[in-house]
């Protein structure tokens, strides 16, 4: 089950990669633009594919090199049809030309995932062939080109994004969230590092909570507790916050899984399907269906949304990938839930887990409910990486070897363990 899931998820990347630019589609749906975060996941997944024999090393290196060459030459003018600015990239790019689409934002977090992917590929492709040498050079060049400090417009918290139409967005990285990789890379940059004020502004808004019997650093959606762990091995390393709490971020994610499961057992909004073996509220697609009366209230159903516990939004939609990504934290709970989702969720076995969402409360209930059509790149990426971390720890090993990450974590105050 695990092997089949991981391989099917890996195959998403070569399948939806544009042959000329190397950019990777955000979703498998027709007309999907590229997402720079998904490119980052693809670059991180190729080492796994090579190691598992699903793709030749040269072909994988060629995939990585193609997109990195393209991004190194793409328009960085910050104009409304460019691909980036100050080394950052717009969240969504036209697959064939790399131009910004849909007036999307220049994204600090999606750029961080992209750069992380480049550095992962550089860490893996360590041969002295011309291709792999160029790949490593490009990865460092593009990492060093990012002006991380520019994304601190007020000198403190890092901005979510910027638009040519309005400048920096009115949102910054505050409250525990998935920005661990962004802060580590930014602080570790040898050229344009984030100031320490960014991470201080972030951690000052952490909330250490006791909920359902568990002490943990609160964040509602499961992906927040998982995405940074796809690349960074947080076992045994701690910053000041976690030292004070006698915990670490890995253990914290274990507890977050337990809180998710506990919420679905309680199932306060009485959705079909929720129980001890069916949980996983996270960012993902949703049915966007007409509202209906459920358990004495009118329930609306969102499309793509960041769902979370215990405060929602919750419309009965489960993201299977978040359950897969829990394997490293709570293997017994995650495996038990995955087996249940394989048999109970709508669609073919496995496809429901890799789909961006399913909802047993809406759609054809006899078929198990609604299933998100197609696949989303972020889900496939987290599945490939977290299963590999569960099986061999390869992504973590690569992440540990990246100088920028080590330096950034140390600057953020992390000590202990492999640091």
């Amino acid at each position: 089950m695990i092997d089949a899931l991981q391989r099917a998820a890996f195959e998403y990347f070569p399948r939806v990669t544009h042959p000329a630019t190397g950019l990777v589609a955000d979703t498998s749906r027709p007309g999907s633009p590229a997402s720079v975060a998904v490119v980052g996941f693809a670059l991180s997944a190729y080492p796994v594919g090579v190691t598992r024999g699903w793709m030749g090393r040269e072909a994988a290196a060629e995939h990585c090199l193609r997109v990195m060459r393209f991004l190194s030459r793409s328009d960085q003018s910050g104009r409304d049809d460019s691909s980036g600015f100050h080394g950052f990239y717009f969240h969504f790019l036209d697959l064939g030309h790399g131009r910004r689409v849909a007036q999307c934002e220049l994204s600090s977090i999606d750029t961080a995932f992209l750069i992380m992917g480049m550095l992962m590929a550089a860490a893996f492709f360590d041969a002295s062939t011309p291709e792999e040498t160029e790949l490593r050079q490009l990865a460092l060049e593009l990492y060093h080109r990012v002006e991380w400090q520019w994304a601190q417009p007020h000198g403190t918290a890092v901005a979510h994004g910027w638009k040519p139409e309005c400048g920096f967005l009115n949102y910054a990285w505050q409250g525990y969230n998935e920005s661990g990789v962004l802060h580590a890379l930014g602080l570790g940059s040898p050229t344009h590092p984030l100031t320490r004020a960014g991470v201080d502004a972030w951690t000052a808004t952490y909330q250490w909570e006791h909920l359902y019997g568990f002490d943990f650093l609160y964040a509602g959606p499961l992906f927040v507790h998982q995405f940074p762990h796809a690349w960074i091995d947080f076992r045994g390393i701690r910053d000041r916050f976690m030292r004070d709490k006698d915990c670490d971020y890995f253990e914290n994610s274990r507890r977050a899984v337990a809180v998710q499961r506990e919420y679905c057992i309680r199932n306060p909004r009485s959705f079909d399907g929720y129980d001890a073996d069916c949980w996983g509220l996270s960012a993902g697609d949703g049915p966007a269906a007409a509202s209906q009366r459920i358990a004495g209230r009118r329930q609306a159903f969102a499309g793509y949304a960041s769902r979370g516990v215990p405060w929602g939004p919750d419309d009965g939609t489960i993201n299977g990938a978040s359950c897969v990504a829990s394997l490293v934290f709570a293997p017994e709970l995650a495996l038990s839930a995955l087996r249940t989702m394989y048999t109970r969720a709508p669609g073919d076995p496995g496809s429901s887990v890799r789909a961006s969402g399913f909802n047993a409360t809406v759609g054809d209930r006899e078929q198990g409910g609604w299933l998100s059509p197609g696949e989303f790149g972020l889900d496939q990426g987290i599945i490939v990486l977290m299963i590999e971390n569960f099986r061999t720890g390869l992504p973590w090993a690569l992440g540990r070897s990246i100088t920028g990450i080590r330096r950034g974590l140390k600057r953020a105050g992390f000590t202990g363990g492999w640091l």
Binding site: Q103, E105, K163, P164, E165, C166, L169, N170, Y171, G175, T203, A204, T205, Y206, Q207, W208, E209, H210, L211, G213, F214, D215, Y218, D244, R254, R255, V257, A258, E262, R266, P268, R293, G296, R297, R298, P310, W311, G312, P313, A330, L333
Partner: protein, 503 residues
């Protein structure tokens, strides 16, 4: 045309209310040589101070420019809460199925009836702070515009009043947004919204603070197509994110069209309607409505006081500068309430006025910073808070741990179909000392008082866990949080083992 009995009743309520708070033909008393305490402003703080001072045997003058009772009674808390209750009734009628009932097929709305109720309530409450009543209590009550003429004297419409001590309690007024075209098309504020002759078909609320959120939800529930525009990413920027998000969700459920992170940049008339351009992340859209309500905040009422002549420091945003004893730079002049405080709440105004009376007349040394101040935003669900927020504690390097009880774990909340919300009690980690709390619940404003009591009397969560609460009540969520704390105090190795067994 014959006057209906309803209109007669309405005008009687209005007459009683005005007669109590701003009597026609009122004659100011002859001034005494010098007052022990002269108070500018007869809002909740001014009236409390006057009564407390008279009870101490002081000679007290109280000066009011407009109506007794201040913004709270005349334009703020009381009228808005009266309207919110009517709105809640309509929401419940519409959603009767949620409670096992049947919604009426047609729910007509009667704005004059709602306004008559509001006026009846206002008239009733005005009896407790009437001009004649205050005079009978021994307070020298003056109506008129007051201004300082020296460090120890004010003039009220040409009459000089001298004082040993003075208290400035002039309150605050609505902060008006500088949006081009808004003044030309006309807009409502918290002071004029209750004068509407009829329920508007559509309304744009500018500002997602407490007032904006409360009234947006109320008007939506009454049947007005309501749009709210707020310049920040979340409503109620000072509140916890989860709490603010719950308000946003609640407003959306009630049908409010929400525009967060959106600035109103221009207004213009389009026929009988008002068009307002909203700008979000560089993208512009226009909303067209019958009425516009601004609720972006309040500013201290200091205009015309001639504070310079009394040697008082101030600025337009913070108002009058005071120290922790509420004293201005002029040692005989104090300030209280909205005119000088960050927390512009009626309860805080009254509490600060009491401090002033004790400090000014009894040589007290009471500090503002020792107050435990709870507050509440009366949306549905309500958001109530007391003490520190987690971020404030973190910034002061105080280690914090939060005990969280979702309302969906509380039997009474489930039975009431009101299980949206939470109780969060923030502790100094490693102790049961309460730093603060936030409650989101249907009656959060009532529930927070238990935590305020505990904080003011320095009761920790261990003691609170032993206070038996009536069952079933929503307030028992506080006790549940206390019990969770007591359970978590197990020896750490045992607790760790127990947690690991759960995963």
């Amino acid at each position: 045309m014959a006057v209906s009995s309803a209109e007669r009743a309405k005008s009687n309520y209005e007459r009683e209310y005005l007669e109590n708070l701003c009597p026609t033909g009122w004659r100011n008393p002859a001034p005494q040589s010098r007052y022990d305490l002269l108070i500018l402003g007869a809002g909740p703080d001014g009236i409390v101070a006057a009564r407390e001072a008279v009870a101490l045997g002081a000679r007290v003058a109280l000066i009011e420019r407009h109506r007794l009772g201040g913004g709270s009674l005349n334009y703020g808390c009381i009228p808005s809460k009266a309207l919110l209750r009517t709105a809640r009734l309509y929401a419940e009628m519409r959603h009767a199925e949620n409670f096992g009932g049947v919604s009426p097929a047609r729910i007509p709305f009667d704005w004059p009836a709602a306004m008559m109720r509001l006026q009846r309530i206002r008239a009733r409450i005005s009896r407790t702070a009437s001009a004649s009543g205050l005079s009978r209590e021994g307070i020298a009550l003056f109506f008129g515009n007051a201004r300082f003429i020296s460090p120890d004297a004010v003039a009220v419409d040409g009459v000089t009043l001298r004082f040993k001590n003075a208290l400035i309690a002039t309150g605050s007024g609505p902060l008006l947004p500088g949006i081009p075209g808004l003044a030309e098309v006309g807009f409502l504020t918290s002071e004029t919204v209750f004068d509407l002759p009829e329920l508007p078909e559509s309304l744009l609320v500018i500002g997602g603070g407490p007032l904006g959120c409360e009234l947006a939800q109320a008007f939506a529930r009454l049947g007005t197509r309501t749009v709210i525009a707020h310049s920040e990413p979340l409503f109620l920027p000072q509140e916890e994110r989860d709490a603010a998000q719950m308000v946003s969700d609640a407003l959306a459920r009630d049908g409010v069209e929400i525009h967060l992170n959106s600035k109103a940049v221009k207004a213009r008339a389009e026929g009988k309607m008002k068009a307002v351009d909203l700008l979000r992340d560089g993208q512009s859209m226009t909303t067209t409505v019958d009425e516009i309500l601004t609720g972006i905040g309040r500013m201290p009422a200091i205009q015309g006081l001639q504070l310079e002549l009394a040697g008082i420091d101030y600025d337009a945003e913070r108002g009058i500068h005071v120290d922790d004893f509420l004293r201005t730079r002029n040692p005989r002049i104090y300030a209280a309430g909205d005119v000088c405080l960050e927390h512009r709440f009626t309860n805080t105004a009254a509490a600060s006025a009491r401090i002033v009376v004790r400090n000014a007349l009894r040589r007290g040394r009471e500090r503002l910073s020792t107050l435990t101040i709870p507050w509440c935003t009366y949306t549905d669900p309500e958001i109530a808070h007391v003490g520190l927020y987690v971020q404030e504690a973190s910034e002061r390097r105080i280690p914090v741990k939060t005990f969280t009880i979702p309302m969906h774990d509380i039997d009474r909340a489930i039975a009431d179909s009101e299980d949206t919300g939470f109780v969060k009690i923030h502790l100094r980690e490693g102790s049961d000392h309460i730093l603060g709390a936030t409650v989101v619940a249907r009656n959060a404003g009532e529930m927070i008082n238990t935590v305020s009591l505990a904080m003011a009397t320095r009761i920790g969560l261990v003691a609170l866990s032993k206070v038996m609460h009536a069952y079933p009540t929503q307030g028992s969520a506080i006790q549940r949080a206390a019990e969770a704390y007591v359970r978590s105090r197990r020896p750490s190795r045992l607790a760790a083992w127990w947690q690991s067994r759960q995963i």
